[in-house]
Each structure stands twice: as C-alpha cells, then as structure tokens.
Amino acid sequence: MTHPPAPSRRNADVAPTPPATRPTAFHTNAIGIGEIGVARHEGVLRTFVGSCIGLAIFDQRQRVAGLAHIMLPDSKGDLSQPGRYADTAIPEMMRLLRDAVGGLNLRLAAKMVGGAKMFAFQSGVTVGDQNVAAVERILQGLGIPVLARDCGGERGRRVSFDITNGEMRVETLGLPPAIL
C-alpha cells in the first residue's frame, strides 16, 4: 500500500489500489463519487447514487467483490480517475479483483443500481440513461452477466453490497429496502 491513509486490516484482505481508488479494509466501507472499492472475504461496501451507477462486480465462490461509483459513460481518454467513467472503471475494477485473489481465475457477475433522473429539467436521454447503457454494453462485451438491477426512476439510492453473501441492499427514502 503506497498511498495514505493506510487502512487497518481488520476484516478483509485488501487489493492494492491506485490513488484514484479507496482502499477497502474496513468492515463497512463508504465509496465516494467516482471511486472504486474492492474487498475480500467479508465486509460491506456502500455508496449513494442518484444519476450515477453503483456497480458491483463479484465472484461469490472467491468471496471477492468490488463496488464502483460511476459518474459518466465515457472517459474520452482521461485515465487520471478511472473510477469516474464506465469505460475505465470496469476494467480497473476487474484488475483490482484479480489482484485481490492473487491472479486466480474469476467467475464474475454484476449487480447495478442508479441512473435516476433527479430533476424534471433533465430532458431527453439523460446522463443517467447513458450511464446505464454504457455499463450494460461494456459488461456484455466482457461476458459478465448482470444478475440484478434497479435503475432509472427519479429517486436516489443508498446501496450496500455484502461480500459474504453477494446481496445488494438498496434503500430509497420513504420506501422499504430492497434486496437484489
């Protein structure tokens, strides 16, 4: 681990992460806007999304998972913050997942939420719509099945991904939580 702050290793093996990502050693780890978190064995990865996408990619056999908070569909060649964009976040998360298991073969699957239209003045094809389409297209190209999704609508979501059981908990204000 070369970048501060150095995390404790309480509950999970931690994948090495570049500066744009957040190390994920904590039992419950919050993933910020445009960040990626990867953890192994146990723990919960959490984030909030509105128009952005919360994308979990995981291998339940290996008990390894990553959660990305993707802001925009296309990096347009900007590699400085790979977690921000669908076309860079997904390959980066796959690299981190492979590192986390020491190069073992992974059988990956995905769950995704977000892509909401938060304001009425967003019209036409919104950034949220574009994010959903880009993530689905990239996952399809990589052969990663999307096992569950909760996308669109007009509400933000609090997302928690539990590495121990592969469940994604989705909370929306005023509604009971959903488990994907």
Partner: protein
C-alpha cells in the same frame, strides 16, 4: 479557482441576499433578513460532504438557468431547518410542520424562486457574462424543482445535470432570520459554460 473569482461570487451572493431579503419581507409582511455567512468554491465531491455525507435526507429546490448565464442554483437544507423555514413562511408556530406536505413544499419552492431571481438579477446587473453589457443579458430560469432525497444523490444529480465531471460549485452558508427566528440553509450555484470560474 482564483481569489478574484470567489470575491466576485461573494459580492453577487451578498447583493442577491440583500435583494432577496427585501423581496421576502414584502411577501411575508414581516421583517426578514437573509445574510451570507461564508462562501466557498469547492469541487462537487467535497460539497457533498459539506451537506452531510449523504446519510440523512436533504431538501433541495433547484433551478436550471439558461441563456446568457448557464448553471444550476440550489437552495438546500436539512429537514428540521426546512420545516422551520416553512413554519416561518406560512406564519405558523414553530414546530407546526412535521413533514413535507403540499403547503410546506410550496413555501420552500417560493423561497427558492425569490432568492433565485434575486441572485440572477444581481448577477446580470453586476457584470453579466463575458462579452455582454451588464443588464443586457437574457437569462431564463426554470421553475424551482423540489427534491427530498439523500444529500449525495441530490448533489450528484445537480452535477450530472450539467453533464460535467469537474464542476466547481459556489456554496454559501446562508442565514435566514424571520422575526428574530434563525434558520440555516445553503445556497449553491453550479456554474455552467457561460460562467467564468477561473478569473
């Protein structure tokens, strides 16, 4: 973000607060004071944290501004502050409003409308965007849109409405005092392409 840019925005918000104070006082028929306590220029990722790390609900009224000036203006506060403000605006005893019904929402939207228009007037009269004469700029605000949601989701929606991944926002900590009762809200302006943020 230069000091000059922050100074210019501070002047705009202060002037807008003065105008909005007068407008709200007229609307309410009671002495009302809106004052800018502090202004910050922040990357939006950090602004989300300023508004509460996303855990609790945030109430926001957002106006999209287009024309000579481009951006989104947001009046934001937590539930207790927003409901207290609604009580003041509706002439109710403090603590009357306990949830966001039609009246409370309407009060918040009207407040955002008054403050937003005051801010836009201040902006256009003070200098106007680049290449325009002060006072000549045509600015078209949308009606305020009320949202109650996780703070992080609201802020993210604001930023992505601008289709911008590197937005700098101007965040003001604004005090409302209506008949000696204080409420704290935040007023944010997320500038679009028509606003200089680097001068």
């Amino acid at each position: 973000m230069s000091d000059g840019s922050i100074t210019r925005q501070t002047h705009l918000f202060v002037r807008a607060a003065d105008d909005a104070s007068r407008a709200l006082s007229r609307w309410l028929g009671r002495p009302t004071r809106i004052s800018v306590r502090r202004l910050e220029a922040l990357p939006l990722e950090r602004a989300v944290g300023v508004l509460g790390e996303g855990e609790g609900p945030l109430v926001a009224c957002a106006m999209r501004i287009s024309g000579a000036i481009d951006g989104i203006l947001v009046l934001a506060c937590d539930d207790p502050s927003g409901l207290a403000l609604a009580d003041m605006l509706l002439g109710r005893a403090a603590g009357t409003s306990t949830e966001w019904g039609e009246l409370e929402t309407s009060a918040a939207v009207e407040t955002a409308n008054i403050i937003g228009c005051a801010y836009l007037n201040a902006m256009t009269l003070s200098e106007g965007p680049q290449g325009t004469t002060p006072g000549d700029a045509e600015v078209l605000p949308t009606p305020p849109w009320f949202v109650r949601d996780f703070a992080a989701a609201v802020m993210e929606g604001v930023m992505l409405s601008q289709a911008s991944d590197g937005a700098t926002i101007f965040l003001t900590h604004t005090d409302f005092v209506i008949e000696d009762s204080p409420v704290t809200c935040s007023l944010l302006f997320v500038p679009g392409a028509g606003i200089r943020t680097d001068a």
